[in-house]
Symmetry: C2
Subunit: 232 residues, 2 copies
Amino acid sequence: MHFGRHISGQFNVELESIRTNVLTMGGLVEQQLSFAMQALHKDDVELARKVVRDDHKVNAMEVSIDDACTRIIAKRQPTAKDLRLIMAIIKTITDLERIGDVATKIAYMAIESPSSTERHFQVSLEPLCRQAISMLHQVLDAFARMDVDAAAELHKMDDKLDAEYEAVIRQLMTYMMEDPKHIPNILQVMWSARAIERVGDRCQNICEYIIYFVKGKDVRHMTEQGIDDIIK
Amino acid sequence: MHFGRHISGQFNVELESIRTNVLTMGGLVEQQLSFAMQALHKDDVELARKVVRDDHKVNAMEVSIDDACTRIIAKRQPTAKDLRLIMAIIKTITDLERIGDVATKIAYMAIESPSSTERHFQVSLEPLCRQAISMLHQVLDAFARMDVDAAAELHKMDDKLDAEYEAVIRQLMTYMMEDPKHIPNILQVMWSARAIERVGDRCQNICEYIIYFVKGKDVRHMTEQGIDDIIK
């Protein structure tokens, strides 16, 4: 991807390297979320422990990419589109890191829930989590291609995740009312559902940064209609 | 506050103006949180509506400060401490905006909960919310003075907020088990408790940015001991 013509070819190399690192970080976060879900589903405590252990890798990538971005600003004094790319990256990695935290949270649940009753409730999370992973995958893909149309489409997809989340919460609430002794266990599952729903919000944020990079407009806090008008 | 000696006195003026805007935004967010809590406590639907109405002011400030930061980078090509200040500000306003969202969430609860039973449960939130507002106030104060020692102390204060949060959740859980028909109402209060607890995490983030600005070290994901070693 060419970001513009730079006097220094080295600048291009540096930008490309940061962008590649963001995609690597995104891939790792997606894998963490996917492993966490597998661990919960298959009751695989070893895999869950691996997710917890690997969270520091996500954190380290956030710190190192952030540092690379600050260095490139100081050294290369980027303007216009280059600067927007760096700003978009700085914000994207914050959201990716938080999605990584969601994976760890699910992994802890897989480690700490030995009873079959709890596992029964956790099953409700599967479709929600699958949908969140799919959304993240597509958002990372849009980011790799800086595809503004895909970003605008994916931005709307969060509504579906919200609807699925509401359904999960309603179901879990029914279980609670049927048998109050399970309330503490079900609450744990609800917190995780909430965290997974937030993955959708974070994906939406990344879509907004893609639009900001390509179109030069900050679309945060805008309606879907407002965003559509900018994309056109 | 002098950030360094610049060839352009105008640069100093611009930096100072951005910094002032961050403090204004912080003051507004603190007020929103405080009004939301008052609205809930005194059952003041009008005040709650004002909080909801004013959320767009917080959002607009985030967008405008972010834009000013990008412009100053492009125009002034800051390095070292000036650049760190701008980076710290870009991250701080994201956290402030999210705290603003928590205020709106509490305000909606005040608008939507007419029954006295619900209000009974909401009372549990008061000490938690008061503590969160106090933490935010002190963090903004540390930010205004770029006081790294205060930031390190406040970073530890989040543990107290977490403990208060755990107590609130336990109490609400007991209510749930005693009378399952209140589960949906109590869940609403729990979600808000969770959101308020997150205010503490966001305040911790801002403390980390203050330390980053003053010490030039990224202390995210570090232990309290690690942070103390850097402050010394």
